[in-house]
Structures are given as C-alpha cells and as structure tokens.
Symmetry: C2
Subunit: 429 residues, 2 copies
C-alpha cells in the first residue's frame, strides 16, 4: 500500500498577451496560465499524478489556493483506496459541504476539484501503463456507470440508461481503438482566427491550416460587425467553399443582438456560432438557436457543470456540446456530459487550446468514440498551436487529425523545465 505524500501546487503563467495569441471579443490580453498540481506518493514506482486548472492570468493565485485546499483533503491517504473507487473519490470532493457553499459545483472550487480528480486519473493511468483514453475504454459498462454522479440528472438520464449506452458500444471497442491508433481523431484549428491578428496574418495562417490538412477553421467575432464581415469574406475567399468556418463570439452579445449579428454573418456559411451570449443563459441559447436556424449553436467551455448541460439539451438549445477538460469536476463529470450528449443525440466537439487543454481533452473524445458514441462523424477537437512544447507528452497532429496518445497518463503533465521557468508564485508543499 502506498500513500499520497506530497501535494505540490504552483502558479504558472505564460506571457501570451505579448503576441495577442488567444485574443477575442471578451478576452483582450490573456496570459495563459495553470494552477498546477502534482500529487506524489511513497510507492517505489516513482510515479506522480499531475493536473491543473487553466486560467488566463490574474486570479491564477486564487485557483492555486483552491487546488491546494482541495488536494489537502487526501494528503496521507491510501493511493489504492482513492484510485480503486474513483466514483466515490470524486463524489467526496463534490459533496464536501463546506466547499460546496462556494459553488455549488461551479467556479474556482469546482475547477479545482477537476484538477485534483484529473491528477488522480493521471496517476491511475500511469500506474496502469496506459494512456487515459485506453484505460477508460478498458473499463466495463458497470465500472463506468459507477464513475458518474447521477444526482440532479435522473429526470434526464438514469443509471440504467447510461448502462445501456455503454453496453451498446461494447461490440467493436477493439476495432475503434485500432482505428484511433491508425488514423487519429479529426481536429479543427483556431490558430488563424484570433481577433488581435492582422488580416494578413489571418489569411496566411488560414492558408497554412488548409495546407496542413485541417477541414475546419474558426474565427473570433463580436467586436465590430463591419470587421467581422470583412474578415469572414476574406477567410472564405482564402479557404474556398469546401473548408468549414466556425465563428466564436465569446459571450459578447445579448439575445436580440446575437440574432441580428449572426444573421448578418450567415451568407458566409457558418459551421457553427459559439458562445453567442452568457453561458448561463440557457433560455437565451434556445431563443437564438430557433431564430438563426439552420446555423448550429455551440457552447461549453464556460458551462459550469452537468446540470447546466442537461438543461441545454432538454431545451434543444445547442447543436454542439463543447466539453472542456478543466472547467468541470474532471474526468468523472465529463463522462456524465458525454453520456448526456449521447442520450440527446448531440455531437461533442471539445474546447481546447489554452495551456494543456488539447493534451487533456483528446483523451475524452477518444474514449467517447470507443465506448460511448461510436462515431467521429461531424465531430472535431479544437486545436491551437501554442505551448505544447511544455508538456511531457505533447499532442501530435498529422493531416488535420489528433494522433492517439500512447504514453501512459492523462496528458496533464507539464515538463519540470516549464514549471520552473514560468512559475509566478512560490511552490507550496
């Protein structure tokens, strides 16, 4: 038996605002950051579990404090007990009544729980000698159901229905694993589309994206309608009619404004419109979707938890669910989100980019393909070409696909060099 012997957090910030990478209508100057956690044990395997909250700069110290507080709950505890029942481990964090007051199940504390849960999954996958997506894809339907918290979901998804979804996907698991190992999972790229880029840079990066095999790009919109129309027209001329173009407003609009603005952009054939308004405005998304049909509506990177996703699906308010690896309470809650999407027949196209989000979320989409939805049709994982070099197992993209990761773990481990070079605050342990 081994124990959690150290709970080390670090406030890590990359100065991305200098180049306006990541700039959009609401986020003018992000400094991509991670409230980083490393769980060490006294096992003689030398393995640690790594996880993080992704932030965009100021406030990363708050997230780091939260990660430390949540992780302290398991210091000294048996690693095997924690990892053997990850369903119970996850629920214990979420139902800590004191911490719950600070959400419940939303914001900094919920994201911190996600970092700790993901770090434990990273450790569990490393111990199993498997990349997370393969570890999850090797679990039985009953084991998978046990990972999910059905509280507040039972009017939309029951454990029996979840079991049925997993069981229906049992046949062909091996073939789908092999397919991923052979060809990977489709990606799209946001690299050309940041709002702070010049037209010339946008055009050049769009050309490069098409040349690299991507079949979809995404542009940030919402600051100026005239600029958006000019940029969209230019992008459409650059990539031609066959390449999909999605647009992302990053919550910029109220409901009536969103409808008017999107209608003005519709002639340029939108793959989807993302975050048209407040992520909390579920009814707003429903109204917008009805008004702009057939343009698909996408959201998720700021959807706080499975209860919010449940309602977006019950309302028929979204066409695309954009799960995020570091927004909700980790792998477990994202399995609930994948199940909800499967139940309601909505496609999942994860949010990624930032720091480490690509590395982490690819495991969830690949697990979804193998053991839940069984399809990659019309599904793409976001890809942004930044900061991958700082991860122990950086994503590999080939011909517009994420290649399946083969290193053991959840993809969440940052290199020690990056941890030291970009440390903002001190290390606490």
């Amino acid at each position: 038996m081994s124990h959690i012997t150290a709970v080390e957090t670090a406030d890590i910030r990359f100065p991305t605002s200098r180049s306006l990478d990541g700039s959009d209508a609401m986020n003018l100057d992000p400094d991509y950051s991670a409230a980083y956690l490393r769980l060490a044990t006294d096992a003689d395997d030398g393995l640690a579990g790594d996880g993080f909250v992704f932030t965009i700069g100021r406030g990363n110290n708050i997230a780091t404090e939260a990660v430390q507080t949540v992780a302290e709950m398991i210091r000294g505890e048996s690693v095997e007990s924690l990892l053997d029942d990850m369903g119970a481990t996850y629920r214990r964090f979420v139902y800590d009544s004191h911490l719950r007051w600070l959400g419940p199940e939303k914001g900094v504390v919920h994201m911190a729980i996600g970092a700790v849960v993901n770090a434990l999954w990273d450790l569990k996958a490393k111990r199993a000698g498997l990349p997370l997506w393969q570890l999850l894809s090797s679990l039985s339907p009953t084991e998978l159901v046990g990972l999910v918290d059905f509280r507040y979901l039972s009017d939309a998804l029951t454990p029996d229905e979840a079991l049925e979804i997993f069981e229906k996907a049992l046949p062909g698991r091996r073939e789908r694993v092999n397919h991923l190992l052979d060809t990977g999972y489709p990606a799209y790229t946001t690299t050309p589309g940041w709002l702070g880029y010049s037209d010339e840079k946008m055009v050049r990066l769009s050309q490069e994206a098409v040349a690299a095999g991507f079949t979809q790009i995404k542009l940030k919109v919402g600051d100026s309608l005239a600029d958006d129309i000019r940029r969209l027209k230019l992008a459409r001329e650059t990539v031609g009619a066959e390449i999909k173009i999605a647009v992302d407003a990053n919550q910029r609009w109220d409901v009536p404004e969103a409808i008017e603005w999107i209608r003005a952009l519709q002639p340029y054939d939108l793959a989807w419109v993302e975050e048209p308004t407040s992520p909390d405005d579920l009814l707003g998304h429903q109204t917008i979707r009805e008004a702009i049909a057939p343009v698909p509506v996408a959201t998720g990177e700021h959807i706080a938890n499975r209860v919010m996703f449940k309602q977006l699906l019950q309302l028929g308010a979204i066409d695309v669910m954009q799960i995020d690896a570091a927004r909700v309470a980790g792998v477990n809650e994202n399995i609930a989100n994948l199940l909800l999407a499967a139940k309601f027949g909505v496609r999942v196209c994860p949010h990624a980019g930032g720091v480490g989000l690509c590395e982490a979320v690819q495991h969830l989409s690949m697990f979804d393909y193998v053991a839940v939805s069984q399809t990659t049709d019309d599904r793409v994982i976001e890809y942004v070409d930044h900061l991958h070099e700082h991860f122990a197992d950086p994503v590999r993209i080939a011909d517009g696909n994420y290649l399946a990761p083969t290193f053991p773990g959840a993809g969440t481990e940052m290199t020690l060099e990056a941890q030291h070079q970009f440390r903002f605050g001190g290390l606490s342990a």
Copy 2:
C-alpha cells in the same frame, strides 16, 4: 481627494458546528465564516469600508485570497472617483477579463467582487452619514438605473423599463421611509428549525418564536421523510394554524423525488418549499413548481447571478425570490435582481442568517420597499438569532420585525474584537 491606502483581508471563522446551529440536509456541520475586507483611506474622516464573503468554513481561505486579489485592483486609487460612479466601478470588476475566466459571474470570484462592491457601498454610506437603505432610497431613478448592468438582461428588462419602475415608486418614498423608521420590516425566523436540533428544542424554540411576535417559522427537511412528517406535525401542533411554516430542503432532491416528498408534506400547509433541487436546475424548479402547485417554490441563496434569476422568472419557476447580500456581485447586482422581481411580479424574501447576512440584506429589502416594489405584503426577511453581537451595528428585532437601521453604513462592519478573536489565518495588507 483621498485614496484607498490599505486593503486588509482576514479569514474569520466561528466554531458554530459545535452546537449544530445551521445544520441542514446538505450542511451537516457548518462553521460560519467570513472572508473579510476592510478598505482604508487617507481621508481625515477616519472612515473605512467593510465587506465580506460568507462561507461555512473550509475554503474560507480561498474566498479570502479572492477578495484580496479583487481589492488590489483599486489600491491607491481615488476614493471619490470610485464612489461617484458605483455603476462603472462594479462593471469594471465584473468585466476584468482575466478574473472573468474563473466564473464568469459565479462562484468564489463573483462573491469576492460582491465583498469589494459592498465594502465600497459601506464607505459611501458612512461618508454620506446614512444607513445604506436610506442612501439608496435618496438616489434619483436615473442614478439608480446607472448602477445596473443590463448586459444579458435586455430580453427581459431594459433600462427604460427599469427607469419606469423607479419613477412609479417616486411618490410616497418619504412616507415609506417613515413607515420603516416607525415599524420596521417583517421578519420570519429559522432559529427553531435546524435539522440537528432535538424535537424538544425545536418545539421550545417554535413557542419562543411565536411569543416573540414572528408569524412565520422555517424547518429544514430532506434527510428522512418520516422525520420530516413527525417534526412538521409537531411544529404545526405547537404554533397552530395561523403561523406560517416554510420548509427548506437545501438542494437535497432530484426533480421526481422532490415532487413526491413535497406532496407528502403538503397536508401541513407549507408557506413555501425552498431549494428543492440544484440551484442551477432552472427547468427542474419549473417542473417541480407545476407539480406541487399551489405550494410556492422559493430559491435564491445559491443563485449565482442576475442571468440565472432572469430565467427562473422567465420560466415562471419560482414564487419567492430569495436574494442574498453576499452571493452575487454586491449591492449593484441585487438592485438588478429587485428590478427583475418587480418586473415579473414576484415577491422578494431574502435569505439571511450565517454571519452578517441579516445585517447586510435588510438594507436591500428596505430599499426595495421605499423605491422599487412599494410593498411589504407577503414579504419577510429571514432572521436567525446567531452571531449578531459581533457586528458594529447588529440587527434589532422587535415584535417579529426588523427595525430600520439608523447607523451610517451598509451593516457589514464587524467589531475589531470579533475580527481578532475569531481570526483563522493571518492578516494580509
């Protein structure tokens, strides 16, 4: 001109779990706590602005870190500039793009913004020599509209509609101020109803509540249906048919379970059922309300922001809006909530208790009566008889009413003695 010269935060925790004060179906052992802020200036008036986030123990350090981070934004700035345009000051915190990533507008960071905004209102009221409710009630309709952020609200409430609501309430402001000074604002008490209390203690405290002039009490439910029926029956026998009894499930149920459980309690004549399920489950509240009619549904203490309240009202999902002084982004956002309630014709019965919540929220209800809804009909402010002695201007209750506070300020100032005696972490400045 004066400046913000110090931003002092303190992690203050009261050991309330020892007596099971505050225990309910989800919160078994709360230690009522405050992430406390004091803004000092270099003016020679000696006045400071005090505000806090209320928590129930573990994690109060996270809230304290968040308050410090938000408050640092205004260190060194002109007090007059900040206080003269509180609408702009509030929006600046909420739209800080980096901090926004950690919500947006929910959880720890949003509550921390509330603490800073409330501390500034406390300072502004002290400088004006008025209790906050009277300061707010002295502002013109145009000034009041300027305090509100209408982003994400315009499909339900426009600035023009808000102006109309305030203007309609201009006549009679003075009479209503005098009425509050004479007789106060109706209260109800939760003191008898904590789940951890014995039947004997519950009965004794219920008798005392009726003797003290309260016309409504509230019982915590949701742990055991048999216990709930026994306690409700006993309470009803104790207080008689004329006293109202509300019940509070503190988010314990899923939607189908809530409906079944409440129907079993309905024979005991429920004034309302509070937090029947997840505060995020807006559609769940709607379904429950339809199924248990005519029992009123109440919620609010965990409703993260005005966008969530907007939808509860659009859906017709609640009968009672329970604003909380320390959950949303302070006085400004609660003015938006009061306007939404007025627009949709829903009564406001604030959540209070904890530490300092009674002291703070009474100002909002009194302002609502004077300048928004013009009525106290069927409206009551929650009252719990704990920890008031630690505040500079503790609430005064007489004959079941909150007496109108007359001390300058927002009611948020804790005594220095309490700040020192119950300090958990260190003081940072």
